[in-house]
């Protein structure tokens, strides 16, 4: 099972990214299964939130919160701390939205791409980055999920952000 832990602040769309990733993985794939859920509780704008995506080629039975992740995705660099390294699997990686490179992470300025597409949050940019680095989902699957589960008027801009983020990583 592959596990992604998303860390952001309420309103940044960490759970939306977690959900889109799960939907993308299972879209048109009978042999793919996913779970996506937020850290449960009242939603408060600006408060730290976690979200989880679990992917497997058999039904995902374990609904508990991820303790060791393949990828930890941090949408807001003020939420990064080296303590997160202890929540990675042996070959796991941390991906951070940050203008400055942070040690032992893949740091990426996601805000530049979000701004280019007039997006108020970086969640789909980060989704594009994780999809490119992990290889868990293709660009087409990511775009399909956006088209299936986001309001129509923001689909094109978010799909554009995913494509550009993937190109930036693959360079």
């Amino acid at each position: 099972m592959k596990e992604i832990l998303w860390i952001g602040r309420g309103g940044q769309g960490a759970f939306t990214a977690a959900k889109l990733f799960g939907a993308a993985y299972t879209v048109n794939h009978d042999a793919h299964y996913a779970l996506a859920f937020p850290s449960f509780g009242p939603e408060r704008r600006g408060a730290p939130v976690r979200a989880f995506t679990k992917l497997d080629e058999k039904p995902v039975l374990d609904r508990s919160q991820t303790e060791q992740a393949d990828y930890i995705v941090v949408l807001d660099d003020t939420l990064y701390s080296p303590e997160l390294l202890s929540h990675l699997k042996a070959d796991g990686r941390i991906i951070v939205n940050s203008k400055e490179p942070l040690p032992e992470t893949f740091s990426f300025d996601a805000e530049a791409i979000a701004a280019e597409f007039r997006l108020p949050t970086v969640n789909t940019v980060m989704l594009g980055i994780v999809s490119a680095i992990s290889g868990y989902i293709t660009e087409e699957q990511a775009v399909n999920a956006i088209e299936g589960y986001m309001p129509q008027k923001i689909q094109a801009r978010n799909a554009g952000a995913v494509k550009l983020a993937r190109e930036a990583v693959q360079k």
């Binding site: 959900k19 779970l35 996506a36 609904r63 589960y149």
Partner: protein, 390 residues
């Protein structure tokens, strides 16, 4: 048939849309809210032609459903936690009046301390209310139960309301891939509700009446008989469901590798998947363990549980409930099943997940170890035994 990535609440709402209730009366409460929101959106956009009654409380929500059912309508409501407790008075009117209402309950902790997270102390406190109680494990089963429950409730041998329980958040708010059947399939499976137990000016009769000491107990006996008849209705409903939708269910309980198991963990709801995964790991180490997931708490699978546990060396019951001063109610029920069958093996109760506390793979591994090694009768996961071991 289409596949969608939905939460448990959304999947359940899709199932209710397919069942086409005439009346929906509900009051929102976390973590049930999304069901009510989705259903009201469906009514608004015309894809569900139900009368949606916005009520001022849970007590009124179920009262409205009872009134609708007494008029011969298919009536749905949904609640959770304190909302269920607030409507408790009406639960007995619904079951005593033999109104086949379906209610979704998002299993949530009860106050105090106040808490919105999932456990099963709300619904398990209402086992005696005369409702059929079923517990879903995942979103697909939730959707499927949203269809099957009507057929069971409205079966003329049963005519008893059904409470479908979804673990709060862990199931209601978790997204997963769900197959949504076609309306034509749902229509083939579920006929419109037709009953004589209704207000009919052409055939006036007394409904929801009082009955004195000489006859009252006969009604209670009939209610018990009807609940027992639900066992057959569940089996028949699942057979018909499998024929039309291609998904099979296993009756009042579901067993995983119990045939040759020395140690068996009995549980219910969405935690069962993690228990099966843990059992599989122990199997790989050569330890013969199995898992029983109770699907129906009422009618209770007495004979089935006894048949599964009879050759085990020991068993455990993991539940998100405690009856203070005694033990978890599921454990009480399982022990009663064994006692009636003359089976005497060591059994231990594990109380976990109260107030939404995460139950981890490590916790389940420790539970299996405790079943093998022996422990107190009642154990709080992550805290320890209550000191009243045998």
């Amino acid at each position: 048939m289409s596949k969608k990535f939905l939460s448990g609440n959304e999947a359940f709402a899709e199932g209710i849309r397919l069942a086409k209730p005439d009346v929906i009366s509900a009051y929102p409460i976390t973590p049930q809210t999304i069901v009510v929101e989705r259903l009201s959106e469906m009514v608004e956009d015309g894809s569900l032609k139900s009368e949606f009654i916005h009520v001022e409380s849970e007590h009124s929500a179920l009262s409205c459903a009872i009134g609708a059912s007494a008029a011969g309508a298919r009536a749905f409501t949904a609640t959770s936690s304190q909302g269920l407790l607030y409507m408790a008075e009406c639960l007995y009117y619904a079951s005593g009046g033999r109104f086949p209402i379906v209610m979704m309950n998002a299993d949530r902790s009860t106050a105090l301390p106040w808490n919105i997270y999932g456990d099963q102390r709300d619904s398990l406190s209402q086992l005696d209310s005369g409702w059929i109680q079923v517990y879903a494990e995942n979103a697909q089963e939730a959707l499927d139960l949203a269809l099957m429950s009507w057929r069971i409730a409205e079966d003329s041998r049963v005519s008893t309301p059904v409470m479908v329980n979804l673990d709060g958040f862990v199931l209601t708010h978790t997204y997963e891939t769900v197959e949504i059947p076609e309306q034509a399939q749902a229509d083939a499976f579920l006929s419109p509700y037709v009953t004589e137990n209704r207000i009919d000016f052409g055939n006036p009769k007394n409904l929801a009446f009082s009955a004195g000491p000489d006859t009252n107990y006969i009604f209670k006996y009939k209610a018990h008989e009807a609940m027992l008849a639900a066992r057959k209705a569940v089996a028949e409903t699942e057979t018909a469901f499998a024929e039309i939708f291609g998904r099979a269910y296993t009756g009042l309980l579901e067993c995983y590798r119990t045939e040759d198991a020395d140690y068996i963990l009995v549980t219910l709801g969405s935690i069962a998947g993690l228990c099966r995964e843990s059992a599989e790991r122990l199997r790989q180490q050569g330890i013969r363990v199995g898992v029983v997931r109770i699907r129906y708490m009422r009618p209770f699978p007495n004979a089935e549980i006894a048949a599964v546990l009879k050759n085990a060396k020991a068993f455990g019951v993991l539940e998100k409930d405690i009856s203070f001063g005694n033990e978890g109610t599921v454990y009480t029920n399982v022990n009663s099943a064994l006692q009636k069958a003359g089976i005497r093996i060591p059994g231990y109760n594990f109380i976990g997940g109260l107030g939404g506390r995460n139950i981890s793979a490590g916790d389940v591994a420790q539970i299996f170890a405790a079943i093998q090694n022996g422990t107190d009768s009642v154990n709080f996961v992550g805290i320890g035994g209550d000191g009243n071991g045998e």
